[in-house]
Subunit: 341 residues, 2 copies
DNA sequence: TAAGCCTTGATAGACGCCTATCAGGAATTG
DNA sequence: CAATTCCTGATAGGCGTCTATCAAGGCTTA
């Protein structure tokens, strides 16, 4: 049951190790019929190159850069931690990961960061803003031979090789379905709070949410969207205003961050139980509120999965190995009080 | 930025490579103070042994065996496929995985299988039945130095090193919460169908479900549990009987497999929309029924994650590397129509 | 037929670590 | 102080692959 080595293949094909290697790595010209002999032997013996030995010999090093938003958004902080964890874990596998923080809301700054991270990287993962300047910056990297993966927030029109994140329109639809079903057949108003209406993920969530609500739960009226810039104090303010303006408010869907602001506003008015509240991203705050019953469901994307998926994709691109698309699909988690991890 | 090698450590510690190696691998007696010098150098240089090189040098091979239930349970078939996929993927990493099928409902057969798979394996993963004979068989393996991981269904009282599966009591609670909330404030009867009341996972799900329903949704009455042995034709029969006996049935929770039987029974009576139906495990059948609206939510455990987690754990045990417990936690997925993967 | 090119073989050395052995010096024992 | 035992150093060879180089034929071309 010993391993099949390149030597066995050479022997079986009646050729030399050097020639087999030439075929395997396309190093030099080999006559087609010779190459066929090699391939036949490989198939017969079911030879699979030892990746450990190969990487050792090649002394391959991967250098990746993760560009994340700065600021105190809980989810993004968690994402950064996952990147760091992955980085230290992968030292022993010859992968180096750098982390850069930048202002996501500022397209120019983000684009500048992307432009500046020169050719020292084999791949870049970025939480992107969908803006022409950013798109151009991504395309620039790709043209220079750097694989780019968008993380959490996509730029579909760019030449990025992959998007590691959830389908936000589906996430919005999911929120709507839960909202509608949790409210039974009740009639009333539903409020929608977004971080920014220029962030692609927020737009898509809103779109999915409104679509399903209008179609399947016409008894629920959606209030005009409020913008919060993902700042929890602002969130609290607008929520409080909304609560006092609409006494028949029975649902809140928070598309972005700043969940604690809503929690605070609800607690201040004592209307936690009357209002069905659906939030995004599992953090310490949202978790506590879910257990308390203030939040009714959390739609989550697993930051760890996203980071690991991004790394896998970047590694696969770096050494041109095919990747199993299905494995890289990021799921939309739903958490209620009872299935919290 | 070159890699730190064992040689660098030796140099920094003012010792020889041989001695550093002795410390690292506990090969021979080394004076404590010498060992400390080595450890200090390792810390200073942040040395991390190259796992690739180490495994190459050791020529380490892992041999694992996965013991799964035979039969035509969709979920288990999927699990088997995941094992095979993982096996072929890991050939290039010197991991060999064998797959054995056995009758899970038969404790003696399962125990016999476990007893028979001798000492050729470094680790065993098993979908276990919680029964004294099985427990003894597991303990026997562990005593012979074979790491055992339980998969999907646990045997907590055994000496298994790990359980790769979901918390089934939480899964049942989750189902109850969804059931209660989806039913709004409606009053009526809820039916519960289990595969077998001797399977630990089914018992726990039932327990969690009944607990939450009794506590939080007292307006819902639970009918006596029906047993189906996970056979969908039997499921259809008992469901049909239940439906005709209880015209005020408004909810069904299927704890085990055989979801298509319930779908068929509901469709035959045309009561799909009146009954809120919560099922386990995402398969082709349940997926279709969820999209159709016959199933209202699916509680799922990700077979791929479970298999990969089991392998990671077995590998970690085999070479005594510590494992990050948090990473091995298997989540309880909730799927509604909109967040299907 | 000589000159050149194309294809293949043979082989050495590297990657970083493991294993084993031998020798010499240090520390311990009587 | 001699005789052990203990600890450390030095070094060779191996794991499977990659890279590079040189030599030896076979073949084409003029």
């Amino acid at each position: 049951m010993a391993r099949v080595t390149i030597e066995d293949v050479a022997l079986a094909a009646g050729l030399s190790v050097a020639t087999v290697d030439r075929v395997l790595n396309g190093r030099a010209a080999v006559r087609p019929q010779t190459a066929q002999k090699v391939e036949k032997a490989i198939r017969q013996l079911n030879y699979q190159p030892d990746r450990l030995a190969a990487r050792l010999a090649k002394g391959q090093e991967y250098r990746f850069c993760f560009v994340l938003p700065e600021g105190n958004n809980d989810f993004m902080i968690g994402l950064g931690e996952e990147v760091r964890a992955m980085a230290s874990h992968l030292v022993s596998e010859r992968v180096q990961i750098d982390l850069r923080l930048t202002d996501v809301f500022d397209a120019a700054a983000l684009a500048a960061t992307l432009d500046s991270i020169g050719d020292i990287y084999d791949g870049v993962a970025v939480v992107a803003l969908d803006h022409p300047r950013v798109r151009e910056a991504i395309n620039g990297l790709v043209e220079r031979g750097v694989s780019v993966v968008t993380l959490v927030s996509d730029v579909p029109s760019s030449k990025r090789v992959h998007y590691a994140g959830i389908d936000n329109s589906s996430a919005g639809r999911t929120a709507a379905t839960l909202m509608g079903r949790f409210l039974g057949g009740k009639t009333g108003k539903v409020g929608l709070i977004a971080g920014s209406l220029s962030l692609r993920d927020h737009i898509e969530r809103r779109f999915g949410f409104e679509q399903v609500l209008a179609q399947e739960f016409p008894q629920l009226a959606i209030l005009p969207v409020l913008e919060s810039r993902d700042d929890w104090q602002r969130v609290e303010k607008v929520t409080a205003e909304m609560l006092s303006a609409h006494t028949d408010l029975i649902g809140i869907y928070n598309v972005g961050a700043g969940a604690r602001g809503i929690v605070a506003a609800l607690e201040n008015t004592g209307r936690q139980k009357q209002v069905t509240y659906i939030a995004h991203e599992l953090t310490d705050h949202t978790r506590r509120a879910l257990v308390d019953g203030t939040i009714d469901a959390i739609i989550n994307q697993n930051a760890g999965h996203e980071v690991r998926s991004a790394v896998r994709v970047l590694m696969a691109k770096a050494d041109r190995t095919p990747l199993i698309e299905a494995m890289e699909h990021i799921r939309i988690d739903i958490f209620v009080r009872d299935n919290l991890p």
